[in-house]
Subunit: 258 residues, 2 copies
Protein backbone atom coordinates (compact mmCIF):
# COMPACT_ATOMS: atom_id res chain seq x y z
CA UNK A 1 0.00 0.00 0.00
CA UNK A 2 3.14 2.14 -0.21
CA UNK A 3 1.99 3.31 -3.67
CA UNK A 4 -1.42 4.36 -2.35
CA UNK A 5 -0.02 6.24 0.66
CA UNK A 6 2.71 8.03 -1.27
CA UNK A 7 0.23 9.34 -3.85
CA UNK A 8 -2.25 11.11 -1.58
CA UNK A 9 -5.72 11.81 -3.02
CA UNK A 10 -4.90 9.97 -6.23
CA UNK A 11 -7.71 7.62 -7.25
CA UNK A 12 -6.55 4.09 -8.07
CA UNK A 13 -8.77 1.49 -9.67
CA UNK A 14 -9.26 -1.43 -7.29
CA UNK A 15 -8.16 -3.83 -9.99
CA UNK A 16 -4.75 -2.11 -10.07
CA UNK A 17 -3.96 -3.52 -6.60
CA UNK A 18 -5.83 -6.78 -7.21
CA UNK A 19 -3.67 -7.61 -10.21
CA UNK A 20 -0.48 -6.15 -8.69
CA UNK A 21 -0.72 -8.38 -5.62
CA UNK A 22 -2.77 -11.13 -7.29
CA UNK A 23 -5.61 -10.97 -4.77
CA UNK A 24 -9.39 -11.07 -4.99
CA UNK A 25 -11.44 -7.89 -4.65
CA UNK A 26 -12.97 -9.20 -1.41
CA UNK A 27 -9.57 -9.66 0.23
CA UNK A 28 -8.53 -6.17 -0.94
CA UNK A 29 -11.62 -4.83 0.85
CA UNK A 30 -10.54 -6.70 3.99
CA UNK A 31 -7.04 -5.20 3.75
CA UNK A 32 -8.44 -1.72 3.31
CA UNK A 33 -10.65 -2.21 6.34
CA UNK A 34 -7.59 -3.17 8.41
CA UNK A 35 -5.52 -0.25 7.14
CA UNK A 36 -8.41 2.11 7.83
CA UNK A 37 -8.53 0.91 11.45
CA UNK A 38 -4.77 1.54 11.76
CA UNK A 39 -5.10 4.99 10.18
CA UNK A 40 -7.99 5.74 12.47
CA UNK A 41 -5.94 4.76 15.54
CA UNK A 42 -3.05 6.93 14.38
CA UNK A 43 -5.43 9.71 13.39
CA UNK A 44 -3.60 10.11 10.11
CA UNK A 45 -6.41 10.05 7.58
CA UNK A 46 -8.45 7.40 5.80
CA UNK A 47 -8.80 5.36 2.65
CA UNK A 48 -11.90 6.33 0.75
CA UNK A 49 -13.70 3.83 -1.49
CA UNK A 50 -15.72 5.22 -4.36
CA UNK A 51 -18.17 2.75 -5.87
CA UNK A 52 -19.27 2.36 -9.43
CA UNK A 53 -17.87 3.35 -12.83
CA UNK A 54 -14.87 5.66 -12.52
CA UNK A 55 -14.58 4.60 -8.89
CA UNK A 56 -11.69 3.17 -6.93
CA UNK A 57 -9.76 3.84 -3.76
CA UNK A 58 -7.68 6.76 -2.57
CA UNK A 59 -5.78 7.80 0.53
CA UNK A 60 -6.81 11.12 2.06
CA UNK A 61 -4.35 12.39 4.70
CA UNK A 62 -5.94 13.68 7.87
CA UNK A 63 -5.34 14.45 11.50
CA UNK A 64 -7.22 13.43 14.65
CA UNK A 65 -8.89 15.92 16.99
CA UNK A 66 -6.27 15.09 19.65
CA UNK A 67 -3.42 15.84 17.28
CA UNK A 68 -5.05 19.12 16.20
CA UNK A 69 -5.19 20.12 19.89
CA UNK A 70 -1.53 19.12 20.32
CA UNK A 71 -0.59 21.08 17.21
CA UNK A 72 -2.46 24.15 18.46
CA UNK A 73 -0.73 23.91 21.85
CA UNK A 74 2.70 23.54 20.24
CA UNK A 75 2.01 26.50 17.96
CA UNK A 76 0.81 28.66 20.86
CA UNK A 77 3.87 27.76 22.91
CA UNK A 78 6.21 28.64 20.05
CA UNK A 79 4.33 31.86 19.20
CA UNK A 80 4.09 33.16 22.76
CA UNK A 81 7.86 33.72 23.05
CA UNK A 82 8.12 37.49 23.72
CA UNK A 83 11.33 37.76 21.68
CA UNK A 84 9.08 37.39 18.61
CA UNK A 85 7.75 40.93 19.09
CA UNK A 86 9.10 43.17 16.37
CA UNK A 87 7.33 46.36 17.45
CA UNK A 88 4.06 47.65 16.08
CA UNK A 89 1.67 44.82 15.39
CA UNK A 90 4.31 42.46 14.04
CA UNK A 91 5.50 39.04 15.19
CA UNK A 92 8.44 37.11 13.78
CA UNK A 93 6.90 33.86 12.51
CA UNK A 94 9.10 32.79 9.57
CA UNK A 95 10.78 29.96 11.50
CA UNK A 96 7.35 28.51 12.37
CA UNK A 97 5.94 28.81 8.86
CA UNK A 98 9.10 27.21 7.43
CA UNK A 99 9.17 24.37 9.98
CA UNK A 100 8.43 21.04 8.29
CA UNK A 101 6.67 19.53 11.30
CA UNK A 102 4.28 22.48 11.71
CA UNK A 103 3.76 22.89 7.96
CA UNK A 104 2.89 19.24 7.37
CA UNK A 105 0.51 19.02 10.33
CA UNK A 106 -1.29 22.21 9.36
CA UNK A 107 -1.50 20.84 5.81
CA UNK A 108 -3.06 17.62 7.16
CA UNK A 109 -5.70 19.71 8.86
CA UNK A 110 -6.48 21.78 5.76
CA UNK A 111 -6.53 18.63 3.60
CA UNK A 112 -9.09 17.00 5.88
CA UNK A 113 -11.12 20.20 5.97
CA UNK A 114 -11.17 20.86 2.23
CA UNK A 115 -10.87 17.44 0.56
CA UNK A 116 -14.59 17.20 -0.23
CA UNK A 117 -14.70 20.56 -2.04
CA UNK A 118 -13.48 19.15 -5.37
CA UNK A 119 -11.12 22.05 -5.97
CA UNK A 120 -8.78 22.23 -8.95
CA UNK A 121 -5.93 24.26 -7.39
CA UNK A 122 -4.38 25.34 -4.13
CA UNK A 123 -3.42 29.00 -4.37
CA UNK A 124 -1.16 31.11 -2.14
CA UNK A 125 0.71 34.40 -2.44
CA UNK A 126 4.47 34.47 -1.87
CA UNK A 127 6.27 33.93 0.51
CA UNK A 128 5.61 32.64 4.00
CA UNK A 129 2.53 30.54 3.19
CA UNK A 130 4.28 28.54 0.45
CA UNK A 131 5.45 25.52 2.52
CA UNK A 132 2.01 24.97 4.08
CA UNK A 133 0.25 25.53 0.76
CA UNK A 134 2.71 23.23 -1.06
CA UNK A 135 2.11 20.43 1.46
CA UNK A 136 -1.66 20.93 1.29
CA UNK A 137 -1.58 20.80 -2.51
CA UNK A 138 0.51 17.63 -2.38
CA UNK A 139 -1.87 15.97 0.06
CA UNK A 140 -4.93 17.00 -1.96
CA UNK A 141 -3.24 15.85 -5.17
CA UNK A 142 -3.69 19.32 -6.70
CA UNK A 143 -1.38 21.76 -8.47
CA UNK A 144 -0.06 24.65 -6.40
CA UNK A 145 -0.35 28.15 -7.87
CA UNK A 146 1.84 30.85 -6.33
CA UNK A 147 0.78 34.44 -6.91
CA UNK A 148 3.80 36.74 -7.14
CA UNK A 149 4.21 40.22 -5.71
CA UNK A 150 5.86 41.41 -8.89
CA UNK A 151 5.23 40.20 -12.42
CA UNK A 152 8.26 38.11 -13.41
CA UNK A 153 9.42 37.53 -16.94
CA UNK A 154 9.74 33.81 -16.18
CA UNK A 155 5.99 33.64 -15.51
CA UNK A 156 5.07 34.47 -19.11
CA UNK A 157 1.95 36.64 -19.56
CA UNK A 158 0.50 37.74 -16.26
CA UNK A 159 -2.52 39.59 -14.96
CA UNK A 160 -1.93 42.01 -12.08
CA UNK A 161 -4.17 43.80 -9.61
CA UNK A 162 -3.61 46.39 -6.91
CA UNK A 163 -5.22 45.97 -3.50
CA UNK A 164 -5.11 47.62 -0.11
CA UNK A 165 -3.17 45.71 2.52
CA UNK A 166 -4.13 46.68 6.06
CA UNK A 167 -1.13 44.78 7.41
CA UNK A 168 1.28 46.92 5.45
CA UNK A 169 -1.02 49.93 5.37
CA UNK A 170 -0.45 50.56 1.70
CA UNK A 171 -1.46 49.63 -1.80
CA UNK A 172 0.20 46.41 -2.91
CA UNK A 173 0.32 44.55 -6.16
CA UNK A 174 -0.07 40.90 -7.04
CA UNK A 175 0.40 39.05 -10.32
CA UNK A 176 -0.66 35.67 -11.58
CA UNK A 177 0.61 33.77 -14.61
CA UNK A 178 -2.16 33.48 -17.20
CA UNK A 179 -1.23 29.90 -17.94
CA UNK A 180 -1.43 28.84 -14.28
CA UNK A 181 -5.22 28.69 -14.06
CA UNK A 182 -8.12 27.78 -16.35
CA UNK A 183 -11.45 29.66 -16.45
CA UNK A 184 -14.34 27.98 -14.67
CA UNK A 185 -12.18 26.12 -12.16
CA UNK A 186 -12.26 26.12 -8.33
CA UNK A 187 -9.52 27.13 -5.90
CA UNK A 188 -8.65 26.75 -2.24
CA UNK A 189 -6.56 29.62 -0.84
CA UNK A 190 -3.98 28.86 1.86
CA UNK A 191 -1.97 31.62 3.56
CA UNK A 192 0.13 32.09 6.68
CA UNK A 193 -1.62 35.09 8.20
CA UNK A 194 -4.73 37.22 8.02
CA UNK A 195 -5.32 40.54 9.72
CA UNK A 196 -8.14 42.33 7.91
CA UNK A 197 -8.32 39.96 4.97
CA UNK A 198 -7.23 42.52 2.35
CA UNK A 199 -4.62 40.24 0.91
CA UNK A 200 -7.02 37.29 0.79
CA UNK A 201 -9.66 39.43 -0.87
CA UNK A 202 -6.96 40.45 -3.38
CA UNK A 203 -6.31 36.78 -4.16
CA UNK A 204 -10.06 36.10 -4.52
CA UNK A 205 -10.39 39.09 -6.85
CA UNK A 206 -7.45 38.18 -9.05
CA UNK A 207 -8.79 34.61 -9.33
CA UNK A 208 -12.18 36.09 -10.16
CA UNK A 209 -10.57 37.88 -13.12
CA UNK A 210 -10.00 34.40 -14.53
CA UNK A 211 -13.48 33.21 -13.59
CA UNK A 212 -11.94 30.99 -10.90
CA UNK A 213 -14.18 30.49 -7.88
CA UNK A 214 -12.71 30.42 -4.36
CA UNK A 215 -14.34 27.50 -2.54
CA UNK A 216 -12.27 27.51 0.67
CA UNK A 217 -9.82 29.71 2.58
CA UNK A 218 -7.42 28.43 5.24
CA UNK A 219 -4.97 30.53 7.24
CA UNK A 220 -2.50 29.43 9.91
CA UNK A 221 -2.79 32.58 12.06
CA UNK A 222 -5.56 35.11 12.35
CA UNK A 223 -5.52 38.42 14.19
CA UNK A 224 -8.59 38.98 16.41
CA UNK A 225 -8.67 42.63 15.29
CA UNK A 226 -10.10 44.14 13.19
CA UNK A 227 -13.08 41.89 13.86
CA UNK A 228 -14.65 42.78 10.54
CA UNK A 229 -12.74 40.93 7.82
CA UNK A 230 -12.86 41.52 4.08
CA UNK A 231 -13.52 37.83 3.41
CA UNK A 232 -15.91 35.38 5.06
CA UNK A 233 -15.96 31.59 5.27
CA UNK A 234 -12.31 31.24 6.16
CA UNK A 235 -10.80 28.86 8.68
CA UNK A 236 -7.84 29.70 10.94
CA UNK A 237 -5.88 27.48 13.34
CA UNK A 238 -4.59 30.01 15.90
CA UNK A 239 -5.93 33.44 16.81
CA UNK A 240 -3.66 36.26 17.97
CA UNK A 241 -5.80 37.98 20.59
CA UNK A 242 -3.43 40.76 21.63
CA UNK A 243 0.20 41.78 21.47
CA UNK A 244 0.86 43.57 24.76
CA UNK A 245 4.23 45.20 24.19
CA UNK A 246 4.38 46.98 27.52
CA UNK A 247 4.09 43.76 29.53
CA UNK A 248 5.75 41.63 26.87
CA UNK A 249 2.82 39.25 26.60
CA UNK A 250 1.48 37.70 23.41
CA UNK A 251 -2.08 36.53 23.99
CA UNK A 252 -3.16 33.66 21.79
CA UNK A 253 -6.10 31.32 21.55
CA UNK A 254 -6.84 28.11 19.70
CA UNK A 255 -9.68 28.20 17.22
CA UNK A 256 -12.08 25.62 18.63
CA UNK A 257 -14.54 26.01 15.83
CA UNK A 258 -12.66 23.77 13.37
CA UNK B 1 7.49 2.50 13.16
CA UNK B 2 5.06 5.20 12.06
CA UNK B 3 6.72 7.58 14.54
CA UNK B 4 10.19 6.91 13.12
CA UNK B 5 9.11 7.32 9.49
CA UNK B 6 7.08 10.47 10.08
CA UNK B 7 10.00 12.20 11.81
CA UNK B 8 12.68 11.89 9.15
CA UNK B 9 16.31 12.27 10.27
CA UNK B 10 15.29 12.56 13.93
CA UNK B 11 17.46 10.39 16.18
CA UNK B 12 15.46 8.19 18.56
CA UNK B 13 17.05 6.26 21.39
CA UNK B 14 16.55 2.52 20.82
CA UNK B 15 15.07 2.17 24.28
CA UNK B 16 12.25 4.54 23.25
CA UNK B 17 10.86 1.85 20.92
CA UNK B 18 11.84 -1.04 23.20
CA UNK B 19 9.75 0.35 26.04
CA UNK B 20 6.96 1.64 23.77
CA UNK B 21 6.38 -1.80 22.26
CA UNK B 22 7.74 -3.78 25.22
CA UNK B 23 10.32 -5.66 23.16
CA UNK B 24 13.98 -6.61 23.68
CA UNK B 25 16.76 -4.70 21.94
CA UNK B 26 17.66 -7.80 19.91
CA UNK B 27 14.16 -8.11 18.48
CA UNK B 28 14.15 -4.38 17.68
CA UNK B 29 17.34 -4.97 15.66
CA UNK B 30 15.60 -7.78 13.83
CA UNK B 31 12.63 -5.53 13.04
CA UNK B 32 14.93 -2.79 11.78
CA UNK B 33 16.71 -5.29 9.55
CA UNK B 34 13.38 -6.31 8.02
CA UNK B 35 12.23 -2.72 7.53
CA UNK B 36 15.56 -1.87 5.94
CA UNK B 37 15.11 -4.70 3.43
CA UNK B 38 11.66 -3.36 2.59
CA UNK B 39 12.97 0.21 2.26
CA UNK B 40 15.79 -1.05 0.10
CA UNK B 41 13.37 -2.89 -2.20
CA UNK B 42 11.21 0.24 -2.48
CA UNK B 43 14.31 2.42 -2.86
CA UNK B 44 12.89 4.86 -0.37
CA UNK B 45 15.77 5.34 2.06
CA UNK B 46 17.15 3.50 5.07
CA UNK B 47 17.18 3.30 8.84
CA UNK B 48 20.57 4.24 10.20
CA UNK B 49 21.78 2.81 13.50
CA UNK B 50 24.31 4.87 15.44
CA UNK B 51 26.13 2.91 18.14
CA UNK B 52 27.36 4.08 21.53
CA UNK B 53 26.50 6.96 23.86
CA UNK B 54 24.20 9.49 22.21
CA UNK B 55 23.39 6.89 19.58
CA UNK B 56 20.08 5.52 18.39
CA UNK B 57 18.17 5.00 15.18
CA UNK B 58 16.83 7.35 12.56
CA UNK B 59 15.07 7.16 9.22
CA UNK B 60 16.81 8.87 6.32
CA UNK B 61 14.59 9.24 3.23
CA UNK B 62 16.23 8.31 -0.05
CA UNK B 63 15.61 7.29 -3.62
CA UNK B 64 16.91 4.39 -5.70
CA UNK B 65 19.02 4.85 -8.83
CA UNK B 66 16.10 3.53 -10.89
CA UNK B 67 13.71 6.07 -9.44
CA UNK B 68 16.22 8.90 -10.02
CA UNK B 69 16.35 7.85 -13.70
CA UNK B 70 12.55 7.76 -13.84
CA UNK B 71 12.37 11.19 -12.18
CA UNK B 72 14.88 12.61 -14.67
CA UNK B 73 12.92 11.17 -17.60
CA UNK B 74 9.64 12.57 -16.26
CA UNK B 75 11.24 15.98 -15.73
CA UNK B 76 12.74 16.00 -19.23
CA UNK B 77 9.43 15.04 -20.77
CA UNK B 78 7.63 17.82 -18.92
CA UNK B 79 10.34 20.40 -19.65
CA UNK B 80 10.67 19.63 -23.34
CA UNK B 81 7.17 20.94 -24.16
CA UNK B 82 7.86 23.81 -26.63
CA UNK B 83 4.99 25.87 -25.23
CA UNK B 84 7.29 26.51 -22.22
CA UNK B 85 9.45 28.86 -24.31
CA UNK B 86 8.94 32.43 -23.17
CA UNK B 87 11.40 34.05 -25.55
CA UNK B 88 14.99 34.94 -24.81
CA UNK B 89 16.59 32.31 -22.62
CA UNK B 90 13.52 31.72 -20.49
CA UNK B 91 11.39 28.64 -19.86
CA UNK B 92 8.16 28.52 -17.87
CA UNK B 93 8.88 26.06 -15.04
CA UNK B 94 6.68 27.22 -12.12
CA UNK B 95 4.20 24.36 -12.51
CA UNK B 96 7.04 21.82 -12.29
CA UNK B 97 8.72 23.45 -9.30
CA UNK B 98 5.36 23.67 -7.49
CA UNK B 99 4.37 20.08 -8.30
CA UNK B 100 4.32 17.97 -5.12
CA UNK B 101 5.39 14.75 -6.84
CA UNK B 102 8.44 16.35 -8.48
CA UNK B 103 9.33 18.42 -5.41
CA UNK B 104 9.25 15.47 -3.01
CA UNK B 105 11.25 13.20 -5.31
CA UNK B 106 13.90 15.85 -5.92
CA UNK B 107 13.99 16.43 -2.15
CA UNK B 108 14.55 12.69 -1.61
CA UNK B 109 17.52 12.86 -3.92
CA UNK B 110 19.04 15.93 -2.21
CA UNK B 111 18.40 14.39 1.23
CA UNK B 112 20.28 11.23 0.25
CA UNK B 113 23.08 13.28 -1.27
CA UNK B 114 23.56 15.68 1.63
CA UNK B 115 22.50 13.76 4.75
CA UNK B 116 26.07 12.97 5.82
CA UNK B 117 27.20 16.63 5.74
CA UNK B 118 25.90 17.45 9.22
CA UNK B 119 24.42 20.76 8.11
CA UNK B 120 22.44 23.01 10.42
CA UNK B 121 20.11 24.65 7.85
CA UNK B 122 18.67 24.34 4.41
CA UNK B 123 18.74 27.74 2.71
CA UNK B 124 16.95 28.97 -0.41
CA UNK B 125 16.05 32.31 -1.94
CA UNK B 126 12.42 33.09 -2.74
CA UNK B 127 10.37 31.94 -4.66
CA UNK B 128 10.42 28.97 -6.98
CA UNK B 129 12.86 26.82 -5.00
CA UNK B 130 10.85 26.98 -1.77
CA UNK B 131 8.77 23.78 -2.14
CA UNK B 132 11.83 21.62 -2.97
CA UNK B 133 13.93 23.29 -0.25
CA UNK B 134 11.08 22.94 2.29
CA UNK B 135 10.72 19.21 1.54
CA UNK B 136 14.50 18.70 1.71
CA UNK B 137 14.67 20.52 5.06
CA UNK B 138 11.81 18.39 6.38
CA UNK B 139 13.48 15.16 5.27
CA UNK B 140 16.84 16.22 6.72
CA UNK B 141 15.15 17.32 9.96
CA UNK B 142 16.61 20.83 9.56
CA UNK B 143 15.16 24.34 9.71
CA UNK B 144 14.50 26.06 6.39
CA UNK B 145 15.81 29.59 5.95
CA UNK B 146 14.30 31.62 3.11
CA UNK B 147 16.33 34.60 1.90
CA UNK B 148 14.05 37.41 0.75
CA UNK B 149 14.47 39.68 -2.26
CA UNK B 150 13.43 42.68 -0.24
CA UNK B 151 13.98 43.27 3.47
CA UNK B 152 10.57 42.82 5.14
CA UNK B 153 9.56 44.41 8.40
CA UNK B 154 8.21 41.04 9.57
CA UNK B 155 11.71 39.58 9.33
CA UNK B 156 13.08 41.80 12.11
CA UNK B 157 16.70 43.02 11.66
CA UNK B 158 18.13 41.90 8.37
CA UNK B 159 21.43 41.99 6.53
CA UNK B 160 21.30 42.71 2.80
CA UNK B 161 23.74 42.36 -0.08
CA UNK B 162 23.71 43.32 -3.74
CA UNK B 163 24.90 40.86 -6.36
CA UNK B 164 25.00 40.57 -10.12
CA UNK B 165 22.45 38.19 -11.60
CA UNK B 166 23.39 36.97 -15.07
CA UNK B 167 19.89 35.53 -15.52
CA UNK B 168 18.28 38.92 -15.07
CA UNK B 169 21.31 40.85 -16.32
CA UNK B 170 21.17 43.32 -13.49
CA UNK B 171 22.16 44.02 -9.92
CA UNK B 172 19.78 42.35 -7.49
CA UNK B 173 19.41 42.45 -3.76
CA UNK B 174 18.86 39.78 -1.13
CA UNK B 175 18.15 40.00 2.59
CA UNK B 176 18.38 37.55 5.43
CA UNK B 177 16.86 37.83 8.90
CA UNK B 178 19.64 38.14 11.49
CA UNK B 179 17.84 35.79 13.85
CA UNK B 180 17.48 33.06 11.22
CA UNK B 181 21.08 31.83 11.37
CA UNK B 182 23.80 31.45 14.03
CA UNK B 183 27.51 32.17 13.40
CA UNK B 184 29.73 29.13 12.92
CA UNK B 185 26.97 26.92 11.51
CA UNK B 186 26.76 25.02 8.22
CA UNK B 187 24.23 25.34 5.41
CA UNK B 188 23.01 23.43 2.37
CA UNK B 189 21.66 25.65 -0.41
CA UNK B 190 18.77 24.37 -2.56
CA UNK B 191 17.46 26.33 -5.54
CA UNK B 192 15.35 25.72 -8.62
CA UNK B 193 17.71 26.97 -11.31
CA UNK B 194 21.28 28.01 -12.00
CA UNK B 195 22.60 29.74 -15.08
CA UNK B 196 25.91 31.39 -14.21
CA UNK B 197 25.70 30.83 -10.47
CA UNK B 198 25.51 34.54 -9.56
CA UNK B 199 22.50 34.07 -7.36
CA UNK B 200 24.02 31.05 -5.59
CA UNK B 201 27.27 32.98 -5.06
CA UNK B 202 25.13 35.77 -3.58
CA UNK B 203 23.57 33.32 -1.13
CA UNK B 204 27.02 31.93 -0.20
CA UNK B 205 28.29 35.47 0.35
CA UNK B 206 25.38 36.59 2.49
CA UNK B 207 25.73 33.43 4.60
CA UNK B 208 29.47 34.16 4.82
CA UNK B 209 28.61 37.54 6.39
CA UNK B 210 27.23 35.52 9.31
CA UNK B 211 30.20 33.15 9.31
CA UNK B 212 27.92 30.37 7.99
CA UNK B 213 29.73 27.88 5.78
CA UNK B 214 28.05 26.46 2.66
CA UNK B 215 28.70 22.71 2.65
CA UNK B 216 26.50 21.66 -0.26
CA UNK B 217 24.58 23.17 -3.18
CA UNK B 218 21.74 21.42 -5.01
CA UNK B 219 19.79 22.80 -7.97
CA UNK B 220 16.94 21.23 -9.90
CA UNK B 221 17.89 22.67 -13.31
CA UNK B 222 21.19 23.90 -14.63
CA UNK B 223 21.89 25.72 -17.87
CA UNK B 224 24.84 24.27 -19.83
CA UNK B 225 25.96 27.81 -20.70
CA UNK B 226 27.90 29.72 -19.53
CA UNK B 227 30.13 26.74 -18.77
CA UNK B 228 32.12 28.73 -16.23
CA UNK B 229 29.98 29.05 -13.09
CA UNK B 230 30.53 31.37 -10.15
CA UNK B 231 30.23 28.48 -7.67
CA UNK B 232 31.76 25.02 -7.72
CA UNK B 233 30.78 21.77 -6.00
CA UNK B 234 27.11 22.00 -6.86
CA UNK B 235 24.85 19.20 -7.96
CA UNK B 236 22.06 19.51 -10.53
CA UNK B 237 19.43 17.01 -11.66
CA UNK B 238 18.66 18.17 -15.22
CA UNK B 239 20.79 20.19 -17.63
CA UNK B 240 19.26 22.54 -20.20
CA UNK B 241 21.58 22.08 -23.16
CA UNK B 242 19.98 24.48 -25.61
CA UNK B 243 16.77 26.37 -26.26
CA UNK B 244 16.37 26.39 -30.03
CA UNK B 245 13.61 28.90 -30.62
CA UNK B 246 13.70 28.75 -34.38
CA UNK B 247 12.96 25.02 -34.50
CA UNK B 248 10.99 25.01 -31.25
CA UNK B 249 13.21 22.40 -29.61
CA UNK B 250 14.32 22.37 -25.98
CA UNK B 251 17.39 20.17 -25.65
CA UNK B 252 17.83 18.62 -22.23
CA UNK B 253 20.06 16.03 -20.65
CA UNK B 254 20.05 14.10 -17.39
CA UNK B 255 22.98 14.67 -15.08
CA UNK B 256 24.51 11.19 -14.87
CA UNK B 257 27.18 12.25 -12.44
CA UNK B 258 24.96 12.12 -9.33
Amino acid sequence: MDELMSNPSKLFESKHFCSKYDIAKSSLSEDIKLINELLHDNGSGCIESIQGVGGGIRYIPGISRERIKELQNELMEALSDPSRMLGGKYLYTSDIMFDGHFASNMARFFTQKFSSLDADYVVTVETKGIPIAAQTAYMLGLPLVVIRREAKYSEGSTVSINYFSGTNERIQKMSIAKRAVAPGSKAIIIDDFMRGGGSLKGIKDILGEFDVETVGIGVALESRFPEKKKVSNYCSIIIIEEIDEENKIIKLSANNDL
